[in-house]
Structure formats: C-alpha cells, structure tokens
C-alpha cells in the first residue's frame, strides 16, 4: 500500500500542477510559479509559529498570504520601481525564501519543517498520516487535501474556461469585448498559489516547478489543441509520478528528485524524437 499512497499523492500534485501549468506555459509566466513556490516559505512558518501546529488550515492561510505578498512585491518592483520583470522575480523570491530559512533555523528546532523538506518534500513519509475513508480503506492526510484542491481546480477551470482561454490566447480581443484581463490574471494566480502551497508540503518546491513546467511543455510540443494539451499534460504528470517512483525505489534515492529527473528524461525523448522527425520531413520535402 505504501507504493500506492506515494504514487497517488504524487499523481494528484501532478494533475493540479498540470492544470495550472498549462495556462502558465501559454502565458509565459512559469517563472512566476517558480517564485511563488519558493516565496510561500515564510508564510508557512509564521502560520506554524502562531498556530503552534502543522494542521493544514493555518498553514494554508499563511502560505497563501505569503504567495500574495510575493506577487505584490514583484508588482511593486515592476510598476512602482520600474524594475525589469525578470530581476523583480529574482530579487523578490530569494528575499522571501531567505527570510523563511532564517525563521526556520531560529525558531524551528522542534518543527517538522526543515530546510531539506522545503526543497524536496517528504513524500516518502505520506503514509505516516493516514485517515480512514470507508471501513479499512485509508488515504494519507496530504492526499485528501490535494484531492479537495484538485476538485476545486477542475471545477474552477471548467467554470472559468472561456475567460481563462480568451485572456490567455488573445488578451487584446478579451479587452475589446469587455472581459476583465486583470480578474482572470488574479484568478489564475490564486489557483497557482493554492496549488504550490498544498503541493509544497508533500513534494517540495523543486517538484512543484518540474510539474508546473514539464508535463505542459511536453504536451505543448505534441498537440495543437489546448483542451487536448490539458488532458495530455495531466496524463504525462501521472505517468512521470509512476515511473519516477519506481525509478527512485530501484536506485534507493529521493522520490521527488527522481520524478523531476524522469520528467526531464521524457522531455528529452520527446524533443529529440520531434527533431528527428522534422529532419526526416525536411529531407523528404527537399
């Protein structure tokens, strides 16, 4: 069962991230997701200090709070201080991450949070916190939260698909037809913050970024239609969770790192295959 718990949890993270990541990839905003996933750290820790527990709700609130803080900070740098956007992202998230690490090492001796878990999570241990569902069937606490968020995200994407789609692919047209580009931007950012926050605890920052960028990027290379891209990205994410987990088990290494590595390998395979095919097509056509 342990295998199942871990793969199930990772797959849920993969699906959440693939949904949000597909929009981020098309909007050229993946690095913002990267920034948020690092910047949630101080919020998580402050929430832990105040509430004194690692219960999910206060942690979620704290993380969401610092996710918003990060986006505001980045916006302040770009709009008010007119800094170029890449630098604004780099400066903001490193500062928040540094503050988070300092807080942890100052007050966190007894906390379950430590520096390693921030980066590569503790998905190996999800089965330590099981909750019964029906009868003897149990699921890890983490995956229940992830499941709820997945339901929320799928609902949100279905409900807001038109708005998200149009502001992603043709913001000017959206603007001219009176669709609020700003609303859908913050709608998506809210989703991204929520995703990174709930995923962060179980898989760590690095796998969140791999999942946000990898499966959508691979899907984008393979299909043209955006709806198909969404489905395919989710499927690829789940596949990478499977393959990555067994790869990790085989080599006895970190699961999160291994899933990220497998995502990279899959990308390389798809990329090279497409290059080869392109070359063949070129040869035939000339």
């Amino acid at each position: 069962m342990n295998d199942f718990y871990i793969i199930f949890t990772a797959s849920l993270v993969a699906i959440n991230c693939a949904l949000m990541g597909s929009f981020l990839v098309m909007r050229k905003m993946v690095m913002l997701g990267d920034a948020i996933s690092h910047a949630v750290l101080p919020g998580i820790f402050v929430a832990y200090l105040i509430s004194g527990s690692t219960a999910s709700l206060p942690i979620l609130v704290g993380a969401a709070f610092s996710g918003i803080l990060a986006t505001l900070l980045i916006e302040w740098f770009t709009k008010k201080a007119r800094m170029q956007s890449d630098a604004a992202i780099g400066v903001s998230y490193t500062l928040l991450f540094a503050i988070g690490i300092i807080l942890i090492s100052k007050f966190g001796q007894n906390a379950d949070l430590d520096q390693q878990c921030v980066l590569y999570g503790e998905i190996e241990y999800v089965s330590l916190w099981l909750k019964p569902i029906f009868g003897s069937f149990m699921l890890p606490k983490q995956s229940l939260i992830l499941l709820a968020v997945a339901a929320l995200l799928i609902g949100a994407v279905i409900w807001g698909y038109k708005g998200l789609f149009i502001t992603t692919f043709d913001p000017n047209f959206a603007l001219s037809t009176g669709v609020s580009v700003a609303f859908w931007h913050y709608f998506l950012m809210g989703g991204v913050s929520l995703t990174t926050v709930v995923s962060f605890e179980s898989v760590g920052a690095i796998l969140v970024i791999a999942f946000l960028s990898g499966p959508p990027a691979i899907a984008y290379l393979l299909v043209e239609d955006f709806k198909k891209m969404l489905y395919l990205a989710c499927a690829i994410g789940v596949f990478c969770s499977f393959a990555g987990y067994y790869f990790a088990k085989w080599l006895d290494v970190s699961v999160a790192g291994s899933i990220a590595a497998v995502t990279g390998i899959l990308f390389v395979i798809v990329f090279v295959a497409l290059q080869l095919r392109k070359r063949n097509v070129d040869v035939i056509s000339t």
């Binding site: 981020l24 990839v25 050229k28 905003m29 993946v30 690095m31 997701g33 990267d34 690092h38 008010k80 201080a81 007119r82 800094m83 170029q84 890449d86 630098a87 992202i89 780099g90 400066v91 490193t94 500062l95 991450f97 540094a98 503050i99 690490i101 300092i102 090492s105 100052k106 520096q115 390693q116 980066l119 590569y120 690095i206 796998l207 970024i209 791999a210 946000l212 960028s213 990898g214 959508p216 990027a217 984008y220 290379l221 990790a248 080599l251 006895d252 290494v253 970190s254 999160a256 790192g257 291994s258 899933i259 990220a260 590595a261 995502t263 990279g264 990308f267 990329f271 497409l274 290059q275």
Partner: protein, 428 residues
Amino acid sequence: MSIWQHITTFFSAENYNLFVISIGSGILCFAAGAVGTFTYLRKRALIGDVISHAVLPGVAIAFMLSGVKNPFYFLIGAIFSGLLSIWIVDYVQAKSKLKPDAILALTLSVFFGVGIVLLTKIQHGGNSAQSGLDSFLFGKAASMNLFDVKLFSVIAIINVVSILVLLRGFSLISFDENYAKGLGFNVSVIKSLLALLTVITVAIGVQAVGVVLMAALLITPAAGARYLTNSIPKMLIFSGLFGFVSGWVGVFISYSGNGMPTGPWIVVVLSVIAFIAILFGKQRGVLARLKLRKANNIKINNENVLKDIYKLAEKGTQTISVKQLVDIEKHKPIPLISVLNRLEKLDYIDQIRGMIIINDKGRLAARDVIRKHRLWEIYLSKYFQLDPDHLHDDAEGIEHVITPEIEKHLIQLLDRPEKDPHESEIPY
C-alpha cells in the same frame, strides 16, 4: 553578549580564521555582484537562477567520481554542468516553439532533481566523507575552511580582472549585439566568455550562499546599483561593493548568532541595501521619481491657471475674481488658492482683495504656454493629418513639456506660422 563584544571578538587575533573567511566571503560576493551586472543588463536574471541550480549535479558527480571532498573537483564539475544547462536552454529555445520561461523552469527543476537524486544516492551509499555535501543547498560560508576560502578568493579576483579586461565587449553585447558585430567584435566568443565567467562565479558563490539563493547574489546587487547610476563601470563598482558588504556582514551575523545560516543572511542584508538604493537612488529611485512627478504636477497646474487668467484678461476684464476662475474655467476652489499663491510668489500675478491682476511677466509666461500649445497643434495637423477637433487634448498635455530647444525647432520646421488650425493667432 552585546553586539559590541561580538564585534571585538570578531576582529580579535584568535579569530584570524574567521576574519579571513569573512573577507573571503565578501570577495566571492563582490565577484558575483560584478558579473551579475551583465546578467542584469542582458535581462537574464532567471538564467542565473538556472545556472545556480544546475551546478548541483556537477558537484555530486565530481564527488562520486573522486570520492573526496576536493573543492577543485567540485568546481570543475559545477562548471561543466552549469555550462551544459546554458547550452540546453539556448538549444531548446532555438529549436522549439517553447517560450524561454518554460524552458528555464524545466531545465532548472530537472537539473536540480538530478542533483538531489545523486545526493541521496551518495548519502545512502555510506561514504563517510559525504557529510556536509548538502551544505551546497544552503551555503556554509561561515564554516568554509581556510584553504577553500583562499582558493575561491583567488578565482574570484581573476574573474573580476577578466571582466575589467573585457569590459568594452561585455558592455556592447549587453545593449546592442548587432552594433557590437558591426564594430568587428566577435560576439559569439564574447558571449561564451561571459557565460564562462558567470558559471565560474556561480560555482564558487554557491559555496557561500547555496544553490537556491545564488540567483540573489547575481541579481540583487546589480538591481540596486542600477538605481544609482547610468554608467556601467560605476554600476560594476556599486554592485560589487554591495556584494562585498553583505558577504562580509552575513558571515558576521552567522557567527555571532550561533549557527545562524550564512546564505540567507547574506541575501537579507543584500536585499536591504538594494531596497535603500531603489528607494533613495538619486536619479531613478522611487522617491526621486515621486518628487519629480510632484514638481511636474505643480508646474502643470501653475501654467494652466496662468493661461486661463491671461485669456480672461485678453477678453477685456483687467481684474479677475477667484469666483470667475471657478465659474468659467471650472477650477476647483481649494487647489486654486494655493496655485494662485504660488503664482504670486513667482511674481506673475498680484492679488488684491480677492481680485487678480496679471502683470507683464505673467503675460509673457502665459503667452509662452499658449504659443507652445498652438505650435504643437499646427505640427500635429500638418505632419499627422489630424482633424482640427482632435488636436486640443494632445496639445493640452504637451504644452507643459516642450523645451525651448524643441520650440525653436518647431518654429523653424513650420516656418514661423501666424495662425493655428483654429485660426487663432500665435503669440510670439
């Protein structure tokens, strides 16, 4: 212990090692700040992030192959995997429809993931020398050994000297690659050299602040320095100094705070310095720009009110009441009074018991504004073929910013016209 005691012990002779380390950490951060100037100017801040994550697998492989913790091997491994990551980003970007941000995020996380895989492999392998390898994640400047510090400092200094030698080429490719090509520079060689220097700097900087925060060491000093100057050499110096100070202070805090992590403190100090520069920078700082905007607003209000007074006076009323300005020209009473007081101070008008009299100096100033307005209207209608009823709004804004030089140029260009498109006379 008080801070003062901390400082005195910090500098005392028995802490010679610590002193050397703090200076060494400062030098590492100086080099990062200097190289980062170009990373910043070339808008490649996030590439710095990628490189710093990407050195991890290189370090791990170097350890696996050699079995010892030799900083020299680590450096070589780090440089290899750092360069590989840059090459991959560039290659995928050239060969696919993916946008840079997705490629950066993917490369960063995959390299880092591979690094973590290798690190955990090493840890589970039970090699006793492995302990401390994971300090690469968060840096360990305060606990570096003396030999490492000296080695890295020397490399950092060589780096900075190379930058100075290649300054002209680096500056050119930061702004205009084609122009650099036109001048006969070999752009691709210069770019590769810059990439190499960046990777070397990251590879040694990682020792001080760790993988995740290395991006800050490259970008934050340059981001702050950018608000202080427009010249690249000065920016290099500021940026390097910011790095040096925070590298040094970071080690001090880490030492006096009993095992506080060094890297995060370096980044926090760095960010504080950058914030101060961003807020108080003389030319581009946030406060300087707010002040400039306020001054502009005052000028615009002054000129608008003066213009209206002048127009009323031209219609025949020699004395104008505040009430007239409010009623006819729709000025709001409260700001109007302070504007009038300012105009009186500037000696453009006289106020006697609620009545306003414009004097000769005021007339001249008002005519200046009106002339600029009408010249601009002619210019727009002549060169942009705009209809007469579309001209006013644009001219309303621009009349306050046309300098005497532009005005002279306009008059020349338009052949000193007599009438504007609305058939009003132009006052010279």
